[in-house]
């Protein structure tokens, strides 16, 4: 029995957290990667080239198009029992899919694994990361999502693993893709960026977010946000960092005009270096910041950008 990693991809290439999930998989056994979708040979070849990947299964069929959970779960319910562990990234893709797979297999699902203790035992955060639970599964097949920030991305290997085809499973069509509206950006992916600059309610408006973007561009970083900034529509939903948004752990995280609610901290407190810029010296964000600057962000941020010229 080996480990099956379900790849997230856009057809041509793998989603960033998939590589980290492969690394988690290698701690558990021999890794097979499943690439399911329509027109996804490119992603399969990329997976085959990763270190630690022994085999790639490619299910390239219209049934699997658009990554709908229902047909993908039906496929995994069929082949899943042949593996000891089924792993997917803890992204909206993996979170949507894996509980459905687990229920079809009549097993538990383990969310956001941050450490593999042994083949049956895993650590995962609960209560917005304010506690870490060690859980042991008694199920024959372990189905889980993996938190990308807790595992290094798998590097390219020396030789390409074989790619074998698997047929799709026709499921009763209960869902239909209508449209997708993806945020266009030339900046690095939030979940994988080396530097993240996040803005909060303190920015005050969508227009003012330009100063965050200018700093991000200067540092080659990604832009994130607090829930308050997203709710106020300063930025799109996919910028949200936190307990119920994205989890990031860049080398440098700069929180601007963000108070530091526990739900926000849950998404960024594993960052290597944290900087906070806030005019309120008692803001809780300073309790986790390596460097705190008590200042008006409208002066400090442009000055910071300018001093990096």
């Amino acid at each position: 029995m080996g480990v099956l990693v379900i790849a997230e991809h856009d057809g041509g290439s793998l989603g960033p957290v998939t590589r980290n999930t492969v690394t988690a998989g290698t701690r558990l056994g021999e890794v097979t990667v499943l690439v399911a979708g329509e027109g996804c040979r490119g992603a399969a070849d990329e997976a085959a080239a990763l270190r630690g990947v022994a085999r790639v299964l490619l299910c390239d069929d219209a049934v699997c198009g658009q990554s709908l959970a229902e047909p993908l779960a039906a496929l995994l319910a069929g082949i899943g029992r042949e593996y000891s562990h089924l792993l997917a990234p803890a992204t909206t893709f993996g979170k949507n899919l894996m509980p459905r797979v687990a229920a079809l297999l009549d097993v538990a699902q383990i969310s956001e694994v941050i450490e593999v203790v042994d083949a049956d035992t895993f650590k995962r955060p609960i209560y917005a990361g304010n506690a870490i639970a060690t859980v042991r599964s008694a199920d024959s097949t372990k189905v889980m999502t993996v938190r990308g920030t807790a595992f290094e991305p798998a590097a390219a290997g020396d030789a390409a693993a074989p790619v074998d085809g698997v047929p799709p499973v026709a499921a009763k069509p209960v869902s239909r893709f209508v449209s997708r509206d993806l945020t266009q950006s030339d900046r690095p992916d939030l979940a994988a960026a080396r530097v993240v600059i996040s803005g909060g309610r303190g920015l005050g408006s969508k227009e003012n977010f330009a100063i965050i973007e200018a700093l991000a561009d200067k540092l080659g970083g990604a832009v994130g946000a607090s829930r308050a900034a997203v709710d106020a529509r300063f930025v799109p939903n996919d910028y949200q960092v936190g307990q119920t948004g994205k989890i990031v752990a860049p080398e440098l995280y700069i929180a601007v005009g963000i108070s530091g609610a526990i739900q926000h901290l849950a998404g960024m407190k594993e960052s290597k270096v944290i900087v906070a810029i806030n005019k309120d010296e008692d803001a809780p964000i300073f309790e986790v910041a390596d460097y705190g600057l008590v200042a008006d962000l409208f002066e400090a941020v442009p000055a910071l950008t300018a001093s990096l010229e």
Partner: protein, 249 residues
Amino acid sequence: MKILVCAKRVVDANVKISVKADGSGVDLANLKMAMNPFDEIAVEEAVRLREAGAADESVVVSLGTSASQETLRTALAMGIDRAVLVESERDLQPLAVAKLLAEVVKREQPDLIIMGKQAIDDDNNQTGQMLAALLGWGQGTFASRVVPASGEVEVTREIDGGLETLALALPAVVTADLRLNEPRYVKLPNIMKAKKKPLEVIAADELGVDIEPRLEVLKVEEPPKRSGGVKVADVAELVDKLRNEARVL
């Protein structure tokens, strides 16, 4: 259309929890409890669909101890018609909750189930997807827009790259994300009215499903603490520290 909505009783989102000294779990004694925030959003959506005439009946379900009756009363005060408590003293993990809910669904025959995307205690984000699987229904998770049309519901989902819209055949399961709506505050007269609304209690055992926990919690510990750093006087000092001390620039 009949809507079933789920509401879990959890520790209030504003409370900072602490871990028990013996590592056996989180110390829940005397903490303020509340309806899971995502479930408030789910309840609000059901009430709005009902008010807009898109639904003609709404039922709220909670699973847990008798204390969850308070959560159900809150949902009734928000405008849900009737409540069901599946009562159990046990640790109900997502698969067990989904199995119990599937039995409730057999009895209630709803056209649409709205749940929260995630319970903020265990942060699982699983139950809706599991329930949809057990029922063989379509799922629309992390919803920021829900529009029922004839025989279908259109759901816009918050995904990592932006937004995605799916059409699901009814019956279907939808899980609510933060931007679906802003839940109303309950008004006192409605709290009084809610006391008279029907609340049925079913013992979990009566539903005849396996609710044995599949995951054993071996230990619960505090995360490693991050020690706060220093305050810098100005931008120049910040840049200097980032360059020469942290070496991240």
